[in-house]
Symmetry: C2
Subunit: 346 residues, 2 copies
């Protein structure tokens, strides 16, 4: 076993604190990554607090992992020592169901294995990227171009793919009006991808103060959702809304902003169910859809696209000792736009 160290929550009411644990030995098809940076995702906080389901503790969060290959298994051919590599939300899946066969491991029909707060096929808990290393099957490690700033790549592994995937699946691009709801870690990536794909991008936000930043990210328009006049002006106008908000919000109002045949795509998950009037969908053949992260082939495609088009997350690098302060700021929306832990501070 490989002695490892990280930050773990011992239970849903405790804070994260240093913790020593063991990783499995590097198997024939595994690689070991020395973690250099790990992004801080809102779902890290949801999971250590048991917001969605009872978690597995001790829990080492983190699924926006980037670093350097330091060991490769005897049969592993994808990487060589010294290569940059990343790990996102998944570290395994059944590999055999029709979704896995199509590269949709995020929708594995036999339960995929999350990077943390999950159990591997060996029955042992998985531990995430708030740690100094990770051992993972090479198929679940992504290649990362060394053209890009590594720390700013980390959030692509979750925030990036979660917004890239639906925009690609629904073929959002030239001629489309795309609204991005919520300008956080996911939202700011949605703006960058939407603009890059050729859509006219409008940011919908409760904070008038975010207009300047939204435009700086490339957004063409900005709408303050608390201003009835601004909302009235965009009724029935969007082909797509990409909804990154994981707090409760009035879906029927947002559905009214879609044009005929429009699609409202949710990638965030509030704890409580949405309340949807049938008339909000019937009156204009509208759809409410969901999309969860992305599969391995598409995640690699996204990373390659980002390298080619120089798309990165806007980040603030933090010391791991400041993780709780960062969570507090994240909850207040006080981050532009993703905290990334410098694992050297561990």
């Amino acid at each position: 076993m490989i002695a490892s160290k990280g930050y773990a929550a011992q239970g849903p009411t405790t804070n994260l604190a240093p913790w020593n644990f063991e990783r499995r030995e590097v198997g024939a098809h595994d690689v070991q990554i020395e973690i250099q940076f790990c992004g801080v995702c809102h779902s890290d906080l949801h999971q250590i607090k048991n917001d969605w389901f009872p978690g597995i503790f001790p829990m080492v969060p983190g699924h926006e992992i980037v670093g350097k290959i330091i060991k490769v298994g005897s049969e592993s051919k994808k990487f060589k020592i010294g290569d940059l590599a990343g790990v996102g939300c998944l570290v395994d899946s059944c590999r055999t169901c029709e979704n896995c066969q199509e590269g949709l491991e995020q929708y594995c029909l036999n339960h995929n294995v999350g990077t943390y707060n999950s159990k591997g096929k060996d029955g042992l808990p998985t531990y995430g990227g708030y740690s100094n290393n990770i051992v993972v099957h090479e198929d679940f490690a992504l290649r990362i171009s060394n053209k890009l700033s590594l720390a700013a790549v980390a959030p692509l592994l979750c925030a990036g793919i979660t917004t890239y995937s639906p925009l690609r699946y629904w073929k959002v691009g030239k001629g489309h009006k795309l609204a991005v709801l919520g300008l956080g870690g996911l939202g700011h990536m949605a703006v960058k991808f939407g603009v890059s794909f050729g859509a006219e991008v409008t940011v919908l936000s409760t904070s008038p103060s975010k207009e300047k930043e939204a435009k700086a990210l490339g957004a063409h328009k900005f709408v303050v959702t608390s201003d009835p006049a601004q909302i009235a002006a965009v009724k029935g106008s969007f082909d797509f809304i990409l909804d990154t908000v994981s707090a409760e919000h009035d879906m029927n109002m947002y559905l009214s902003l879609l044009r005929t045949n429009g699609t409202h795509i949710i990638v965030g998950a509030p704890s409580d169910p949405h309340s949807i009037s049938a008339f909000s969908l019937l009156g204009g053949r509208k759809s409410l859809a969901g999309s969860g992260i992305g599969g391995l082939p598409e995640t690699q495609e996204m990373l390659d696209y980002c390298a080619e088009h120089n798309i990165l997350s806007d980040i603030e690098i933090i010391d791991i000792k400041d993780i709780h302060k960062s969570y507090e700021r994240m909850l207040k929306g006080d981050v532009r736009y993703r905290f990334v832990i410098d694992i050297a501070t561990l």
Copy 2:
């Protein structure tokens, strides 16, 4: 003005009763139809009871209208006297918005004119098909083949197009597993169209007693939704669910029956909003969509398709004096599958 007679509700708490009223004179582009049959739609009852919104009274319901052309306007070229013709849910629209231009009059951006419980461009209330005649712009009258039994054509004008349109829009056909939820006026048409388009059709119903009838309509499979074992067996299996139920039902359970990328299409409208968990959509990139009736070109296409493939509604012809008895039976699901008023009994 044209002296007309029909059955009207004088208010939301009164029963329907005979009522004399006037239709407008036949304008240059109008036709006058002597109504022979009119289907009884659940929405007739919703509207005379003010279930959805405050209605316009006196109200003459009915939007599944078939009959014979008895007068044509001076500029009207589409019909000649004696032709069969039908009128569905719409009698006018703005004609100029992008949706009207595309033949999506049901989604007119400037308010279309309903066949009853609506106001025409002249500001006068519209009256539906529980009456002896109707005057309508020729563009909103549909051609009906005389190959088909006229009474059984009537329900195609609402129940038919409401199910035909989404199945066409989402290209449901060969290789797809389609579930039809609810086996009433809409549901039985959905089964016929789904089978005709080549899909494998499963009827989902609370009533085990409907299995034989469902199969007789052409359904390949039948699932009793109150039986956990039968539900478990179809989890994650349908490409599409066409949901014709307008009473409250557990949407998250039904969403779990969709396979990855599946779409649950609602065409019924319960008074209360649906409660939708984000996870029901995220976990499998699923969509919840709505579809409302159909536009004029597609309604004509549907009628022509039905003539070519001999598709009709299964009906029970009633005397208009039995309309309230029929509503009661409809509410109990005691109709196979649509009541149609013989207007000769008026």
